[in-house]
């Protein structure tokens, strides 16, 4: 028994439990983040059950990661006193992982791949030199107002919101 770590010497079972809880928590948070990313990955086949699972994990992961992070901070503080440099390094790495997962739970990584267009801008027909005559456009006309969305732009953004003739719309491609 190491006399330099009186806390660990006194309550070894508690320390082991705290480490177990810490690893378990990290594993659960990691699973909550990684599973939906994997399930709704492009070029994969999806089932309705997979969609449901991905939806629920994504829905609860922002809250779960914060609760998990708080718990892990508490466990880390508890374990810090009894740990030596090696164990402290592991603690720091687990905390960094938890912080990263908590951040990622708040990101939409699909919008990293396909830049959204939150404020779509438009030009008059005469100024639209960026479209070739032979380029295909998606076109709509509502209440005498007409708008065109060049497909080459749509195939990148995929989702463009607009209001045409007073009707709020989403153009999708």
């Amino acid at each position: 028994m190491n006399a330099a770590s009186p806390a660990a010497a006194r309550r070894p079972a508690h320390t082991v439990l705290a480490w177990l809880a810490l690893w378990l928590m990290a594993a659960v948070l990691l699973a909550m983040i990684v599973i939906p990313v994997y399930l709704i990955m492009p070029f994969k086949s999806q089932t309705p059950r997979a969609i449901d699972l991905a939806f629920n994990l994504k829905r609860w992961s922002p809250l779960a990661t914060v609760l998990g992070l708080i718990t892990m901070v508490a466990l880390t503080i508890y374990l810090w006193r009894s740990g030596r440099w090696f164990k402290r390094t592991v603690l720091v790495m687990l905390m960094a992982l938890a912080a990263l997962l908590t951040w990622f739970a708040r990101q939409n990584h699909f919008e990293w791949m396909f830049h959204p267009l939150p404020a779509a801008a438009f030009d008059k027909v005469s100024d639209a030199t960026f479209v070739n005559d032979s380029d295909q456009v998606m076109a709509i006309s509502v209440n005498q107002e007409a708008a065109a969305y060049p497909i080459r732009e749509m195939a990148y953004h995929h989702v463009v919101e607009d209001t045409v003739g007073g009707v709020p719309l989403v153009a999708t491609y």
């Binding site: 939906p36 709704i40 492009p42 070029f43 994969k44 086949s45 999806q46 309705p48 969609i51 449901d52 939806f55 829905r59 939409n108 699909f110 919008e111 396909f114 830049h115 959204p116 267009l117 779509a120 801008a121 438009f122 030009d123 008059k124 027909v125 639209a128 960026f130 479209v131 005559d133 032979s134 380029d135 295909q136 456009v137 998606m138 076109a139 709509i140 006309s141 509502v142 007409a146 708008a147 065109a148 969305y149 060049p150 497909i151 080459r152 732009e153 749509m154 195939a155 990148y156 953004h157 995929h158 989702v159 463009v160 919101e161 009707v167 709020p168 719309l169 989403v170 153009a171 999708t172």
Partner: protein, 228 residues
Amino acid sequence: MWERNVDGRTLNFHLSGINNQNFIMRDEETGSWWQQVSGQCIAGPLKGKQLQLVAHDELPFALWKHEQPEGRVLKPDERVAAQYEPVDWEDRYAKLRVITPVDPDDPLKPRDLVIGIAMNGTAKAYPMARLEKLAPVADTLGGTAIVILLDTSKKSVRAFESTVDGRALTFSVKQDTLQIADAETGSNWDFTGRATAGPLAGRQLRRVMVLKDYWFDWKIYHPDTAVY
């Protein structure tokens, strides 16, 4: 193209995932997930709701300019314009992989382009390759007589109900033009479905919504579809 109003509330959509190679959108207001191609809510508080489809079409810019000289055009986003699809994007997309099961006996290939029409509870796919050869195509779908027209670039497709005042019309198109005429009254029509000259001048054919889609994708959402 979907309306963003659902039960009196305007929703804001973001991309949030992929389901069998079709995008999932998430609305900011409720966090629900929506299937882009079908407009159906597939997960979340609004699950089961359906977005309202808005009539739209795909056509060459030159033709659209001619029809809508007062229209407005979506500007490129300068930050990402360099990453927009190149002019030959259609050919490259046609070579992308398909991950849903492929029926070996199916005469159509997964990435064949079809014009999908769903009306009166009936769905039918019209392969683009056949339309390019045969247009204008007259057909009856769920008891409604329709006509399918192609523009001169053979890329833009519009469909209309072909009955006016209870009278079924038979349309013909002069080769390599958009001069459309009906055999019954001899009236001339344009590509917007409006009669421009003749006894029916000023009349407007009812538009039928079409979806240009890959065959594999159309079949996922219309498993009972017929094929022209």
